[in-house]
């Protein structure tokens, strides 16, 4: 496995940090002829590690040898059955076995060991990382090379429904922590020879496997290069989750809006691959990163595509409204109550003022306090055990809301506004986008409290301008709204019928823009119409 840095050396910002002892770019140290000294070298590297197993035996009853492995990362059953057993089998015809030590590795590989993956090395220094990757190393006394076989086995949980992105209609499997399982989930749905998985370790110490997946001929080669370059510039100790990668490759780290989309759903990842995007998987993280990610994506779900298009479009609009609600509603409430109550119908204004009569705080303070309480409650619900979390949040809202009104701390209208805001932010499918709108509503409330509608308007302009200035991997964030691409608006706020979406998003610069083959009738309905007219005849 090559290093990202070796592959894409063209884009180095900083000189690489001094690599640690487990790294493989040190000068080659050839294997010693004595088995003992080789073993002691490896034991010296790993010190007192109790899961490093050295098992001495005689190959074919003749040569002194040892296999070395980490018991925690390999499948010991397989070592027993497919490595040790054949190698220690002395009953077979010994005359076929070459006497010369030079021919022995070839013989072992081709005739004895029954393992699918393996290789050999002459460098003692690389053995350390080879062992950590889950290989079993075979060293034979007097031989100048070591054989190794991949028998990696890591415990992982089974595939479950994604926790953060549930759908009504759609597949129920989600990514898990294990990279291989995740790639198999992708391969299973995407049976094309053009599917590319480029893997390399990242993180100086954790050496986490990072896989970049794309479809050759659909993804823009420039985009793939850009992703590779940004990944290769990462130089940190540890990559523990896809979220680490996200923060290193995003265009604008200071922006509150996410420019990379994480997802737990394989079907969503495949859909983005087919659009011409690139996805990044990290070993140990159940999230895959989709780049580039635009504003448009954050209120879309798989449901929109699996449901019929009218329903899908309506749901999308409702989600967009919910997103806008969660951002603006409390600010608008504050500014109208405190500055422009004349904008409300008179009866309603009287009712609100009456309800607020006993509240000692100005509207802005009242809303701010309630919103902060709400955020605390929500954060607490995440930490709580799942069994009581759901119950507490509902009870908490009811009880606290009721009590606050009864105690005269808040007016009923405020409680309603806060509740609507919170529910609105839950309707946004992308958790990270929902967070940004949740957080941005606080400055808006303060602006509303200070300057009324004018302040809200200024705040909105700041947010909108920021969105217009953002880019994700060179694609303007508000595409296809601004810059307007009429063709791509088909899949934005509305989602047109699938047979009408005839091309991939053009802002992704894909080399193969046609989504449907040309011989498919222009309209799906044409075919059905034809069938009907034939039936009539």
């Amino acid at each position: 496995m090559q290093n990202w840095k070796q592959k894409y050396t063209s884009f180095k910002h900083k000189p690489a940090r001094k690599e640690s002892s487990a790294q493989d770019n040190r000068p080659v140290k050839p294997l010693d002829s004595s088995l003992e000294s080789n073993i002691s070298f490896i034991q010296q590297v790993f010190g007192e590690d109790s899961d490093l197993i050295v098992r001495n035996f005689k190959v074919y009853g003749r040569h002194d040898a040892a296999i070395i492995f980490f018991s925690s990362v390999v499948d010991q059953n397989q070592i027993q059955n497919y490595v040790l057993k054949p190698l220690m089998n002395v009953s077979s015809d010994l005359s076929e076995i070459p006497k010369d030590l030079k021919d022995l590795p070839d013989y072992i590989w081709s005739m004895t060991v029954q393992v699918t993956q393996g290789n050999r090395t002459k460098d003692l220094n690389t053995l350390a990382s080879i062992l950590l990757e889950g290989n079993v190393v075979l060293i034979i006394d007097g031989m100048d090379q070591a054989l190794y076989f991949n028998l990696r086995k890591i415990e992982h949980r089974s595939i479950e429904q994604p926790q953060t992105e549930q759908v009504i209609r759609g597949s129920r499997d989600g990514f898990i922590e294990n990279l291989e399982s995740n790639i198999s989930l992708l391969r299973y749905r995407l049976q094309t020879p053009d599917f590319r998985v480029v893997t390399a370790p990242l993180g100086v110490r954790t050496r986490s496997k990072v896989a970049v997946c794309y479809i050759e001929g659909i993804a823009d080669p420039g985009l793939v290069q850009k992703v590779m370059r940004r990944l290769s510039a990462i130089n940190v100790d540890g990559i523990l989750d896809a979220g680490y990668i996200e923060q290193f490759i995003e265009d604008h780290p200071l922006s509150p809006f996410p420019q990379v989309q994480p997802t737990e759903r394989p079907d969503k990842s495949i859909a983005s691959l087919l659009e011409g995007r690139v996805i990044i998987l990290v070993d140990g993280s159940p999230f895959c990163l989709i780049v580039p990610a635009l504003f448009n994506q954050f209120f879309q779900t798989m449901d929109d595509y699996t449901e019929r298009f009218v329903v899908g479009s309506l749901l999308r609009m409702i989600r967009l409204i919910a997103l806008l609600f969660s951002l603006f509603f409390p600010a608008l409430y504050v500014s109208i109550i405190s500055f422009n109550p004349e904008l409300l119908p008179t009866e309603f204004a009287v009712a609100i003022t009456g309800a607020r009569a006993g509240v000692p705080f100005p509207a802005v303070l009242e809303v701010l306090i309630m919103e902060v309480f709400m955020e605390v409650l929500r954060e607490a619900t995440i930490r709580l055990p799942q069994m009581i979390g759901g119950a507490l949040s509902i009870v908490g809202v009811l009880v606290i809301g009721q009590a606050a009104v009864a105690a005269g701390l808040a007016s009923p209208t405020t409680v309603v506004v806060v509740a609507i805001t919170t529910i609105g932010s839950f309707a946004t499918p992308a958790y990270n986008a929902a967070i940004s709108s949740r957080m941005l509503r606080f400055p808006l409330i303060i602006l509303a409290g200070c300057f009324g509608l004018y302040g809200v308007m200024l705040g909105t302009i700041v947010i909108v301008n920021h969105l217009l200035f953002l880019e994700s991997f060179g694609v303007p964030y508000m595409t296809p709204f601004v810059p307007t691409i009429w063709k791509d608006l088909k899949d934005s706020i509305v989602r047109v019928p699938l047979w009408w979406m005839r091309s991939r998003p053009s802002f992704l610069n894909t080399p193969d823009p046609d989504l449907l083959a040309n011989d498919i009738p222009k309209k799906h309905t044409d075919l059905i119409f034809k069938e009907k007219s034939e039936a009539d005849e």
Partner: protein
């Protein structure tokens, strides 16, 4: 489709959007009053007569920019007029737009203080908006275009909504005679000039031409944009005058706002259009000042040959703020505003004309595609 990598990404429609959202701004509130003062019930006609006059400036600018599709006006003017003279003119452009931004800000502040925030100091209103604009202009011209394109639908739709809803209340008698009572040529032509002075924003095309996909279509874009704005202005004057009559319109300081206030749809479904109107109006003011400030910063940067306009934009902030505080009272504000408009009309019409003539005489520029 090479969308991202092209170095000429701006489309003709986007240019139109920039021009329209730049021009629709402060003038929309008080234009019915000016027009009624000039033409009485002939106000719509006076408004319409301003469009051809404004078009002259747009036409000269477009024609001369089209001759040099790869450079901004600041660059090619140096070759046409000589470095010194061109820089002086560029400096004047910068000053003009800075001043214009300042005065627009002040007018905006006056309206805000008079209508919405009766207790807020005007300086705060102005400074907040200026800070917002100053933060926003620190980007390149493509992003500048995006901002305009995004806000345009909101501006246009709200203007059209108000016009359509207000049409129910129009009394045609208020609009007769079409040419107005006792209209003299001098008052009519004064109205024409005032109306034409509202369209100075077309000068923004000098920034966009070097980035346009099809620079040859700049004149088309300018013409259509002016047509649309002219139509909206005429309709607004028509509707306001039709609702209030010429005499009453003259008495209202912000007739359009009053018109928005007096209309409603349905049985109390949406009673107060003025709130919606003010909200959208803040956006349209933002886009106007955004362009003015950007032009001021950009031309100053060209004169100083600095590498980007960000630093310069920060230095312009106190200058524009000072300009906005120059008028001592609201009467001075409006006299300053009308003087600025007339100076702008003359300057921005004749400077491109001068450049065009020089380029014709000296036979410079790329091949003209006519």
């Amino acid at each position: 489709m090479k969308l991202m990598n092209s170095n000429r990404p701006i489309t003709t429609i986007q240019v139109m959007a920039v021009i329209i959202s730049t021009i629709i701004g402060i003038g929309i509130l008080s234009i019915p009053r000016y027009m009624a003062e000039a033409g009485d019930s002939g106000a719509p006609l006076v408004t319409a007569s301003g469009v051809p006059v404004a078009f002259l400036g747009c036409w000269f600018t477009a024609v001369v920019c089209r001759k040099f599709p790869n450079e901004t006006l600041f660059v090619f003017s140096r070759r046409l007029l000589g470095t010194w003279l061109a820089d002086i003119f560029s400096m004047l452009i910068s000053l003009f737009f800075a001043f214009s931004a300042g005065i627009t800000m002040r007018q905006f502040g006056e309206v805000c203080v008079a209508v919405v925030f009766k207790k807020t100091p005007i300086e705060v209103v102005i400074l907040l908006m200026l800070l917002l604009v100053a933060l926003s202009i620190r980007r390149n011209i493509v992003k500048f275009t995006y901002v305009h394109v995004f806000y345009l639908p909101f501006i246009l739709l709200s203007a059209i909504a108000i016009i359509l809803v207000a049409m129910r209340n129009v009394d045609v008698l208020n609009l007769l005679p079409l040419t107005g009572n006792h209209t003299t040529f001098s008052s009519f032509s004064k109205g024409t000039i005032t109306s034409a002075g509202l369209y100075q924003g077309t000068f923004v095309i000098i920034l966009l031409v070097p980035l346009m996909k099809k620079p040859q279509q700049i004149l088309k874009a300018g013409t259509i944009a002016l047509g649309i704005i002219g139509f909206i202005y005429v309709m607004i004057v028509w509707v306001t005058l039709g609702m209030f009559g010429a005499q009453e319109t003259k008495l209202l300081s912000y007739p359009t706002l009053e018109a928005a206030r007096s209309i409603s749809i349905g049985a109390g479904l949406l009673e107060r259009f003025d709130a919606l109107f003010i909200i959208i109006w803040v956006i349209s003011i933002f886009t106007t000042i955004f362009t003015n400030y950007y032009l001021a910063a950009y031309s100053l940067q060209q004169v100083l040959r600095h590498k980007d306009h960000r630093l310069i934009s920060s230095f312009l902030l106190p200058l524009i703020f000072t300009f906005s505080l120059l008028p001592r009272n609201i009467f001075q504000v409006y006299s300053f505003a009308s003087i600025t408009a007339i100076i702008g009309l003359i300057f921005l019409t004749f400077y491109p004309l001068l450049l065009w003539l020089v380029s014709l005489i000296r036979n410079k520029g790329a091949i003209s595609h006519e």
